[in-house]
C-alpha cells in the first residue's frame, strides 16, 4: 500500500513539475513571429522587411545583445513598426525599446501628431526570452491576441 501511494506521489509530482515548468524559450524564430504579425495586424502602409543591421541600429543594439532579430517598418510618414528580439539580456533590450518608443513620441508629437494614438497604444510584450514590439492601427488587446497566436 505504501509503495503504491509513494509511486502515485512521484508520478503526480512529475506531471505537476512539467505542467508548471516555466518555459523560458519561445520556440518560433523571431522571423516567424515578425512575419506573422506583419501578415495579421492592420497597418497604415505596406510594411517593409528590415535587415537585421537596420533593426539593431534603429534600437541602439548590437549583435552581442541579441541572439535573433527581425522587424518591419513603414515609411517615415507613419510610426507603424514591428520588432522581435530574442535575447539573453532582456533588461537591456527592454530599456532600449522604451527609449526608442519615447523618442518616437517626442519626434512625432510635433512632426505628425495624428500618429500619436498609435504610439500611445504601442505594445511591448515579453514572452520567455523574446521581446515583441508592435505599433499599428489596432488597439492593444487586439494586437496581444495576435502576438499570442504568433508565438504559439
Amino acid at each position: 500500500m505504501k509503495k503504491i501511494l509513494l509511486s502515485l506521489t512521484v508520478i503526480i509530482s512529475a506531471f505537476l513539475f512539467t505542467a508548471c515548468a516555466n518555459n523560458t524559450e519561445v520556440k518560433k524564430s523571431a522571423e516567424e513571429i515578425a512575419a506573422s504579425l506583419a501578415m495579421n495586424v492592420e497597418f497604415s502602409e505596406t510594411m517593409n522587411d528590415l535587415s537585421q543591421r537596420v533593426l539593431l541600429r534603429k534600437y541602439g543594439l548590437d549583435e552581442t545583445m541579441v541572439t535573433e532579430a527581425a522587424g518591419y517598418s513603414g515609411t517615415k510618414a507613419v510610426v507603424d513598426e514591428i520588432a522581435v528580439f530574442k535575447t539573453d539580456n532582456l533588461d537591456k533590450v527592454l530599456e532600449n525599446v522604451d527609449l526608442h518608443i519615447e523618442s518616437q513620441k517626442t519626434n512625432y508629437s510635433s512632426y505628425a501628431p495624428n500618429e500619436m494614438p498609435k504610439l500611445e497604444a504601442s505594445v511591448i510584450h515579453t514572452a520567455g526570452n523574446c521581446v515583441i514590439v508592435c505599433v499599428s492601427n489596432e488597439d492593444t488587446a487586439s494586437v496581444m491576441d495576435k502576438i499570442n497566436i504568433a508565438v504559439e
Binding site: E45, S51, A77, H100, N107, Y108
Partner: protein, 290 residues
C-alpha cells in the same frame, strides 16, 4: 697735537665710509642691471622658442591633414561596382549621410553596403549643431568629428525650414557646411535638393511647404553649393513628375516616399559624379586637380 691727529683720523674714517658706501651703491646698481639683462635674455629665448614651437605645431597639423587626405584619396578612376538595385557601391563606399527624415527614411531600405547615417526626423540646420540622433549622445554634427574620415558627405536640409523668415536658413546652412569642412576636410560635400511633394501637400501649404517654395529653396541651395565649392544634387528632378509634383501613389503623406524613389535619388547622385567636373576640394596645400 693729539686732537689734530684725532680729527685727521676721523676725517680719514669718514672718507673710507663714504668710499665704501659709494662702492656698495655701485655694486647694487651693477647687480640690478645684470639681473635685468639676464631676464631680458631669458624672455627673448622663451619668445623665440614659442615662435618655433608654434610654427612646428602648425606644420605638423598641416602635414597630418595632408596625410589624412592622401590616405583617403580613392584611386583616380575607381571601377564602379553595382549592387542589385543598380547603385554604384564604389561611389558610396565610406560615405556619410546627414540630415532630416529623408535620411531617416533611407535607412529603412539598407540600400548601401558601406555608408553611415546620422539623422533625425524634423532636423533643421540649427538643430544639427545641438541635438543628437535618437540613439546618440552628441550633436549630430559632432558625429563627423568622432575620428572616422569619409570620402563623401551628403547633406539633406531645407524641407523643415521652408517656413523660416528671410535668409536665416541659408546663413545657417553655410555654417553647417563650414563645420563639415572643418571636420572632414578631405571629403566631397553634396547638398541634396529638397525632393518633390504631392499636389495635395502643396495645396495644403502647411508651414509654407508648397511647390513654389521648394523650387525657390532648391535654387538658393544650388547657389549655396556654388558659393561654398560643394556639389548640388537635384533630387527634385529625380522625384517630380511632369507637373513638378510627387505622384500621388509615391507616398502616403505626399512627402515620404518608398524604396524605389530612394533608388532613383541615389542613381541621380552617382551620375552627377560622372557628368560634372568636381570642384576644388577643401583647403590643402598640394591637392591634385580632379
Amino acid at each position: 697735537m693729539a686732537s689734530k691727529e684725532r680729527i685727521k683720523d676721523i676725517k680719514k674714517r669718514k672718507l673710507v665710509r663714504e668710499k665704501t658706501r659709494k662702492h656698495r651703491i655701485y655694486l647694487i646698481r651693477r647687480c640690478v642691471l645684470v639681473l635685468i639683462a639676464i631676464g631680458l635674455i631669458i624672455w627673448a629665448i622663451l619668445g623665440i622658442k614659442g615662435c618655433i614651437n608654434r610654427v612646428k605645431l602648425e606644420r605638423a597639423r598641416e602635414a597630418a591633414i595632408l596625410a589624412a587626405s592622401e590616405a583617403l584619396k580613392p584611386t583616380p578612376t575607381p571601377a564602379p561596382r553595382y549592387n542589385d538595385y543598380g547603385i554604384d557601391e564604389t561611389f558610396y563606399n565610406n560615405t556619410v549621410f546627414l540630415g532630416n527624415s529623408f535620411i531617416e527614411g533611407m535607412t529603412v531600405y539598407d540600400l548601401l553596403e558601406n555608408a553611415d547615417y546620422f539623422s533625425k526626423i524634423g532636423l533643421t540646420v540649427s538643430q544639427v549643431m545641438t541635438e543628437a540622433t535618437d540613439m546618440g549622445n552628441i550633436p549630430v554634427i559632432e558625429e563627423l568629428n568622432a575620428g572616422k574620415k569619409y570620402y563623401k558627405v551628403f547633406l539633406m536640409f531645407g524641407e523643415n525650414e521652408v517656413g523660416w523668415i528671410g535668409d536665416s536658413f541659408f546663413k545657417q546652412y553655410k555654417e553647417v557646411i563650414k563645420k563639415v569642412k572643418e571636420y572632414q576636410p578631405q571629403a566631397e560635400i553634396y547638398l541634396l535638393a529638397i525632393t518633390a511633394i504631392s499636389k495635395k501637400v502643396s495645396e495644403e501649404n502647411v508651414d509654407n511647404l508648397n511647390v513654389d517654395t521648394v523650387k525657390y529653396y532648391n535654387t538658393k541651395i544650388k547657389e549655396l553649393a556654388s558659393e561654398t565649392n560643394t556639389i548640388f544634387a537635384d533630387l527634385f528632378s529625380a522625384t517630380a513628375g511632369v507637373d513638378d509634383f510627387l505622384p500621388d501613389d509615391a507616398a502616403t503623406d505626399g512627402i515620404h516616399f518608398g524604396e524605389d524613389y530612394y533608388i532613383k535619388c541615389l542613381k541621380l547622385i552617382q551620375d552627377i559624379n560622372r557628368e560634372t567636373p568636381k570642384p576644388e576640394q577643401s583647403p590643402a596645400p598640394s591637392k591634385e586637380q580632379k
